[in-house]
C-alpha cells in the first residue's frame, strides 16, 4: 500500500485527513473509534452524576445538592425538597446516560466494530454504509436523550408508569423516542454483524474455528435484533396514551401499570446480556493468549454464550417478583432464572482450567481478565439471592440490588471493556501504553470499586431501600464508606483512561503482534491499513494453538520471555 507525503506507511488513521473525513467514513475501524470517544464522554458525564449522588448520601438528611445563591434564603423544608428533587434528577441522569448512551452501545459498537471484520479476515463489515448510518443515528439518539434528561426527568432509568406518565409525560415520550432511535442504531449494528459473520469469513474460517469474541458478538447481535423492537411498541403505546388518552399504562385512565414493567424488562433484561456477553468474549480471548495455552472447552463456551442469549429472553419477570404478577408467574420466572447461572458457571471453570499449567504473563490485560473473573463471580452468586423468591422479597429494590448490578455491569461489562482496550490498544494505534501506570490504575480501580460496592450489599441486607435521598441514621457509616471509596474508583478511571489517551501520542511504537496472539487481527498491520489486509488471509487451523506456537519458539530462541 501507499505512503504519506513524509514517507510514513498509510494506515486507517492517516490515509484520509480532516474531521469531515471521519464523519463521512465508512471504515469500521474509524467508526469504532468514534463510538469509543462518544461513549467515554458519556461515561464521564454519568460518572459525575454518580459522584453527586454519593455526595448527597454522605449525610442521612437530604441537604447537599442545593445550588445557586438563594440557597441561604430557603426554609429548611424548601431546602429538603430542593435537595431531594435534585438527587432524583441526578440518579436518573446517571442511569439513563450509563445504560442507554454508554454501556448498551458499549463493547459491540466500539471494540466489536473495530475488531469483528479483522477477526473474520474481512475488509469491512457486510454493509459499511449501514454501519455509518448506525453511528449517525446513535449521535441523533444521544442528543434527543440528553435533551430529555436535561429537562429534568426524575423517573429513574426505568420510567415506571404511571409516575413517569403523570409527572414527566412528554419528557418520557421524548426519552422513549430517544431509546427507540438508539435502538435502531443497535439493530443496524446487530444485523450488520450477523451478516458479516455469516457471509464474510475468510476462506477456511469455519464456524468451529471462529474466535470466541466473534461468537459472543454473534449471540449479542441476535439479542439486539430480537429484543430491541419492543422499545418501538412501548413508544407507540405511550403516545396512544398521552396524546389520544387511550388507557394503556395509567390506572387513572383504565390502564395497567404492570404492563409497562413487562414491556420494559422484556427489552431491558436481555440488554444486560448485550452488555455482558461481549465482555465474556474478551476475557475468553485474553486468558489463552496470556496463559499460552489453548482455551479450555471451546465448544462449551460457544454453547454457553448462545445458551445464555436464549435463556435471557425468558427471564425478564425476575425484576417483577413483588410487582403484582400472579403467583404462578413468579414461581416460573424464578425457576427459569436459575438456568442463567449454569452456563455462566461453566465459563468460569473453563477460564480457570485454561490457566492450569500454562505459562502465565502478568500483563495489564491479564490482570483485568483475572479481576473480571473474581468480580463476576460476586455478581453471579449474589444473583442467586435475587432469583430465590423468599430472599428476593427482602432484597428487591434495596441496595443489595444496586450492588449486584454494579458488580455485573461495572465489574463485568466495564472491566471487560477496559481489559479489551488494554489488549487491543497496540493494534488500534500501533503503540504500547505505559504498562506500570496501567497496572497502578488497575489496582486503584480494583480497590476503589470493591470498596464502593461491598458495603452496599450490607446496606441492602439491613434493609436500605434504593433511590433514597435521605435515610435513617443507622445506615450512615456504610454510606460514608462507600462514598469515600468511590473517590478511588473515580481516580482509578481517570488514571486508566488518561494513560491510554496520552499513550496514543507518546506511547512507544510496537510491532504488529506484541502479545504473540494467533487470531487474524494480529496478522494485520498495527495500526491496520484502510482495507485491513493486503491479502485476505487463509485459515488452516483454529486460533488457540498457543502451546504449539510456544514450543516452536522455544526451539528457535531457546526460551523467550515476554516483553512487559
Amino acid at each position: 500500500m501507499g505512503t504519506t507525503a513524509d514517507g510514513k506507511k498509510l494506515n486507517y488513521l492517516n490515509w484520509e485527513k480532516g474531521l469531515w473525513s471521519w464523519w463521512m467514513t465508512i471504515d469500521h475501524k474509524r467508526l469504532g473509534l468514534m463510538y469509543l470517544a462518544s461513549i467515554l464522554i458519556f461515561f464521564f458525564l454519568g460518572g459525575a452524576a454518580a459522584l453527586a449522588i454519593l455526595m448527597e448520601l454522605f449525610t442521612p438528611e437530604a441537604d447537599t445538592l442545593v445550588f445557586g445563591d438563594d440557597a441561604q434564603t430557603l426554609t429548611p423544608q424548601q431546602l429538603d425538597t430542593e435537595a431531594k428533587s435534585n438527587y432524583n434528577t441526578a440518579f436518573t441522569l446517571h442511569g439513563v446516560i450509563m445504560i442507554f448512551l454508554f454501556i448498551v452501545p458499549g463493547i459491540p459498537a466500539t471494540l466489536g466494530n473495530f475488531l469483528l471484520p479483522l477477526m473474520v479476515g474481512a475488509k469491512d463489515v457486510a454493509f459499511p454504509k449501514l454501519n455509518r448510518h448506525s453511528f449517525w443515528v446513535y449521535t441523533l439518539g444521544s442528543f434527543i436523550a440528553l435533551l430529555a434528561v436535561f429537562q429534568g426527568i426524575d423517573t429513574g432509568w426505568t420510567f415506571y408508569a404511571p409516575y413517569s406518565i403523570q409527572e414527566n409525560g412528554y419528557g418520557v415520550i421524548l426519552m422513549t423516542f430517544a431509546a427507540f432511535i438508539l435502538g435502531f442504531s443497535s439493530i443496524m449494528t446487530g444485523v450488520n454483524f450477523l451478516v458479516t459473520i455469516h457471509k464474510m469469513r475468510a476462506p477456511g474460517l469455519t464456524w468451529d474455528k471462529l474466535p470466541l469474541f466473534v461468537w459472543s458478538m454473534y449471540a449479542t447481535s441476535i439479542l439486539q435484533v430480537v429484543a430491541t423492537p419492543i422499545v418501538g411498541i412501548t413508544l407507540l403505546l405511550l403516545i396512544a396514551e398521552n396524546i389520544f388518552g387511550i388507557g394503556v399504562f395509567d390506572p387513572a385512565v383504565g390502564g395497567d401499570p404492570v404492563l409497562f414493567e413487562h414491556l420494559f424488562w422484556f427489552y431491558s433484561h436481555p440488554v444486560v446480556y448485550i452488555m455482558i456477553l461481549p465482555a465474556m468474549g474478551i476475557v475468553s480471548e485474553i486468558i489463552p493468549v496470556f496463559s499460552r495455552k489453548p482455551i479450555f472447552g471451546y465448544t462449551s463456551i460457544v454453547f454457553a454464550s448462545v445458551g445464555i442469549a436464549a435463556i435471557a429472553l425468558l427471564v425478564w419477570g425476575h425484576h417483577m417478583f413483588v410487582a403484582g404478577m400472579s403467583n404462578m408467574a413468579r414461581y416460573i420466572f424464578s425457576f427459569l432464572t436459575f438456568f442463567v447461572a449454569v452456563p455462566t458457571a461453566i465459563k468460569v471453570f473453563n477460564w480457570i482450567c485454561t490457566m492450569y499449567k500454562g505459562s502465565i504473563h502478568w500483563d495489564t490485560p491479564m490482570l483485568y481478565a483475572m479481576s473480571f473473573v473474581f468480580l463476576f463471580m460476586i455478581a453471579g452468586t449474589t444473583g442467586i439471592h435475587l432469583a430465590t423468591l423468599a430472599t428476593d422479597a427482602h432484597y428487591h429494590d434495596t441496595y443489595f440490588v444496586v450492588a449486584h448490578f454494579h458488580y455485573t455491569i461495572q465489574g463485568g461489562a466495564v472491566i471487560g471493556l477496559v481489559a479489551g482496550l488494554h489488549y487491543w490498544f497496540p493494534k488500534m494505534f500501533g503503540k504500547m501504553y505505559n504498562q506500570p501506570v496501567a497496572k497502578l490504575g488497575w489496582l486503584i480501580l480494583f480497590i476503589g470499586f470493591n470498596g464502593t460496592f461491598l458495603p452496599q450489599f450490607i446496606l441492602g441486607m439491613e434493609g436500605m431501600p434504593r433511590r433514597y435521598a435521605s435515610y435513617p441514621e443507622e445506615f450512615t457509616d456504610l454510606h460514608q464508606l462507600s462514598t469515600k471509596f468511590a473517590m478511588f474508583n473515580g481516580l482509578g478511571y481517570a488514571l486508566v483512561f488518561g494513560n491510554l489517551f496520552v499513550s496514543i501520542f507518546t506511547g512507544k511504537k510496537c510491532d504488529a503482534n506484541p502479545w504473540r496472539a494467533l487470531t487474524l487481527e494480529w496478522k494485520a498491520d498495527s495500526p491496520p491499513i484502510h482495507e485491513n489486509f493486503e491479502n485476505i488471509p487463509r485459515v488452516d487451523e483454529g486460533f488457540y494453538g498457543y502451546d504449539k506456537e510456544v514450543e516452536e519458539e522455544e526451539t528457535v530462541k531457546g526460551g523467550a520471555t515476554h516483553g512487559a
Binding site: 395509567d250 472447552g297 471451546y298 414461581y331 449454569v342 435515610y471
Partner: protein, 317 residues
C-alpha cells in the same frame, strides 16, 4: 452454616428465621465458591507464572467428565435454591383464612391504614402479636411498595387493583429503638419517596383492642385534629405554613384568597373550594403548580375534612 455475612435485620415474623437461614446458606456457598475459585486462579497465576515456569506443561483443551461434573453440580445447587425459596415464598403468598385484615392505601407521600372497624391511622400501623395479619393494599396514585424489613416482606401497591401480603409477628416492637419496626416505601414515587416511611407497632391483643376502639383516646377539637391530620396525611410534605412555596402552595393566607388556575375561571378559596381541592385536587390546578397532589377522596371522613378546613382557615396571612 457459617453465617459469614449475616447483617439481616431483627427477625420478627414466623418465617424470618427460615428466610435468613436460606440467605445465609446461599451467601456461605457463594463465598466458599468465590474464595476457592479465586484462590485456585491466583495459585495458577503464581505457580505457572511465565519465567518461573516457561513452557505450558499441559495441552488439555477439554475434558468431558470434568465438564459434565461442573454442569451437573451447579444445576443441582440451582434447583435446590429454587426449591427452598419457592417453598417459603408459597407460604408468604398464602394467607390463612382467619387472618386479621387491615387496609393499606399508599399515596404521595404517606400511608393510610384502615382497621376492621373503620378506625384509621397513618404514621403507625398497629397489629397484634402472634396473629396472622393480612394487608390488602392499593395505591391512590403512582406505584408504591410496602416493605417491612423485620418481617422480610415486600409487595407493590398498584392503582388498578388490590395487592396483598401477610405475616405473623412473633415479638412485640417494644425493644426496637423508637418502639416500632421501620416501614419503607420501596418503589420510587417522586420527590419525597425517601420520606415515605412509617412504623410497625406490634402490641398485645388487649392493647390492640384498646387502640382500635380508641379507648383512652382524648377527644380532639377540630383545630387540633386538623393539625394532627396535616402531619399524618403528609400534607406537610407539600404545603408549608410559613408562606414558602414547596411542592404545593402554602396554607398561609390561603382561605379567602383569590386563586388562579391553569384552566378555567379564577375563584375565591372558600370552604367549598377547599373541600373539592382536598378530595380531588386534580380538578383545578393552581397556576404555577403541577398536578401531583393525591386525591384524598374516600380516605378522609366528613369530620376529618371539616377539621382540615378549620386548620387551613386558621393559617391567617
Amino acid at each position: 452454616m457459617f453465617d459469614f455475612f449475616d447483617y439481616m435485620p431483627i427477625q420478627a415474623s414466623t418465617w424470618a428465621d427460615r428466610v435468613d437461614w436460606m440467605n445465609n446458606w446461599i451467601t456461605d456457598v457463594s463465598t466458599i465458591c468465590t474464595v476457592a475459585i479465586t484462590a485456585v486462579m491466583l495459585y495458577f497465576a503464581i505457580r505457572y507464572r511465565a519465567g518461573k515456569h516457561s513452557a505450558p506443561s499441559s495441552k488439555a483443551d477439554h475434558n468431558l467428565n470434568l465438564e459434565i461434573v461442573w454442569t451437573v453440580i451447579p444445576s443441582i445447587v440451582c434447583v435446590y435454591c429454587f426449591y427452598i425459596g419457592f417453598d417459603v415464598y408459597k407460604e408468604m403468598r398464602t394467607p390463612p383464612a382467619n387472618a386479621t385484615e387491615i387496609g393499606v392505601t399508599g399515596f404521595k407521600w404517606g400511608w393510610n391504614f384502615t382497621y376492621e372497624n373503620g378506625k384509621t391511622s397513618s404514621k403507625e400501623l398497629v397489629v397484634p402479636v402472634g396473629e396472622p395479619i393480612k394487608l390488602v393494599m392499593k395505591s391512590s396514585d403512582v406505584l408504591h411498595s410496602f416493605f417491612i424489613p423485620s418481617m422480610r416482606v415486600k409487595e407493590d401497591l398498584r392503582g388498578d387493583r388490590y395487592s396483598y401480603l401477610w405475616f405473623t409477628p412473633t415479638i412485640t416492637s417494644d425493644e426496637q429503638p423508637g418502639g416500632v419496626f421501620p416501614i419503607f416505601c420501596a418503589e420510587y414515587c417522586g420527590v419525597n419517596h425517601s420520606g415515605m416511611r412509617a412504623g410497625l407497632k406490634v402490641v398485645s391483643r388487649a392493647e390492640y383492642n384498646d387502640f382500635i376502639q380508641e379507648r383512652g383516646a382524648i377527644e380532639l377539637s377540630p383545630l387540633e385534629l386538623g393539625a394532627k391530620l396535616y402531619n399524618e396525611k403528609a400534607c406537610i410534605t407539600c404545603h408549608s405554613l410559613d408562606g414558602s412555596k414547596v411542592v404545593g402552595p402554602t396554607f398561609k393566607g390561603l382561605y379567602g384568597a383569590n386563586r388562579e388556575f391553569t384552566e378555567g375561571e379564577p375563584a375565591v378559596a372558600d370552604e367549598n373550594y377547599l373541600r373539592t381541592s382536598i378530595l380531588n385536587a386534580g380538578k383545578q390546578i393552581v397556576s404555577g403548580y403541577q398536578n401531583v397532589m393525591p386525591a384524598f377522596e374516600g380516605q378522609l371522613n366528613d369530620k376529618e375534612i371539616d377539621a382540615l378546613i378549620a386548620f387551613i382557615k386558621a393559617q391567617k396571612p
